[in-house]
Symmetry: C2
Subunit: 237 residues, 2 copies
DNA sequence: AATGATTTGTGTCACTTTGCCACAAAAAAA
DNA sequence: TTTTTTTGTGGCAAAGTGACACAAATCATT
């Protein structure tokens, strides 16, 4: 679907005034990163619209797959952003002007959008981002060093960051951010990064093992100094 | 707004294909009750649509106020229900036929709806339900004895019931279900009802008091046998 | 008025979980 | 061989939890 077609057909194909946005989070070099796309001189969340014949959930998975190349990505609903004046008119205008496209103020694209924000925890190494038809670039940004972003997208990312902090206390989900096989020191570092505080390594390790959610594998072979850690993977139910 | 006007104007006034539904929960005679409305021979959740010039949040508050008479009701987002074939065609058809109204298959009302479900914890005594223009009746139903309901509305109620069980573990919010001034035995009974299990009274009371969220008031005067309990209210921040 | 039943507030005590530190084992580096 | 780094596990005091006990307060019944 090229842009012209997208503008013309979108109104018929999609549920109007409704979008799905994804905060896609990966863990790389000890930092939490978020996948963003560039349109114009600002960045935005990967997102899309819901086909009239498609469930919201399927739209979410479809959008995620399209942008990450992952088959079965983790995701979780985050929040509704439904402000009465939530429009992207200025952003689209700039995009149209820069691309020498005829800008019309009152297309569906410039109308108000209620967005269903989700977050997704992905294995950074396995994720192969794909830009959309209108995006100029993609990039991973440290959650604490976000660029200029569209509208309220920065707020959405920060909401996700805070939600992750809460969810990690009650749910076993951080392993989605690591490779299938990982070590306790890795998981420990990840949790410290998410919570932004030091966690006692001894206690953390004992607690994780005691949770029974992981099974121990042979030790990891590596060249760095120090004892070689066991590897773990999530127990299948 | 009468029904004819509602049908004709709704499309222009509201965001299409989007609704807000409320699971309004009260606590009465030791049981959790849910406020439902009757249209036709089935019951449905209080709900409504979002004006194009109104935020989702304001719509939620407006709908809640309209149906409960409460000034500043508690509410919390529950979940999105966005199935690809989520339509109320049959239910509306029956309503139109029963009321001798001309039924048209393809009005906005019969289109697919994504609903933003919320739950609201209210003081049963203070709540004065008001039925909508098209509702035949309202009633409070025990959460475990729900009547025949529209589409997936029963599923929404059950989702709320389960969510409440979870939220109560992490958040101080159950006092919304009690009068401003309440006793520890009351709060204890409420928690037991929500969780569906016995909680040690001693421990519960100590934990609640230790949380520091409540301030002790003079003892309650009552005629039943036994020691008179202290009253408490939520500490203002 | 005395006694008993009921309800509520608080105490105790064993058991578990948590926070913090220690230390030994393993393996590269010096 | 010794040192340094990393990882696994142990110990112990403090805090939290579950189960039960018991006393205080108050109405109902002799």
């Amino acid at each position: 679907m090229d842009f012209q077609e997208f503008i013309e057909q979108g109104e018929k194909l999609f549920l109007p005034n409704l979008s799905v946005d994804m905060v896609i989070i990966g863990f790389h070099e000890g930092e939490l990163k978020c996948l963003l796309l560039k349109i114009g001189d600002k960045w935005l969340l990967p997102g899309g619209y819901v086909f009239r014949t498609e469930s919201v959930e399927n739209a979410t998975v479809r959008i995620l797959r399209e942008r990450t190349g992952l088959k079965d990505p983790h995701f979780k609903f985050l929040s509704v952003f439904g402000g009465e004046d939530r429009k992207f008119t200025e952003e689209w205008k700039q995009f149209f002007v820069e691309n020498n496209l005829p800008f019309k103020e009152n297309t569906w694209l410039n109308d108000r959008f209620v967005t269903l924000a989700h977050y997704s925890l992905v294995d950074f190494e396995k994720t192969k981002p794909v830009i959309g038809n209108f995006d100029e670039a993609f990039a991973w940004f440290n959650l604490d060093e976000l660029p200029k972003m569209w509208m309220d997208h920065k707020e959405i990312v920060l909401t996700a960051k805070n939600r992750l902090k809460e969810d990690i206390q009650h749910e076993q989900l951080t392993y989605n951010l690591l490779p299938k096989e990982f070590t306790m020191p890795q998981l420990h570092g990840l949790h410290q990064t998410i919570l932004g505080e030091k966690l006692d390594r001894s206690r953390f390790q004992k607690k994780m093992i005691a949770s029974g959610a992981f099974e121990r594998l042979p030790k990891l072979q590596k060249d760095s100094p120090g004892r070689k850690p066991f590897q773990y993977r999530v127990k299948k139910a």
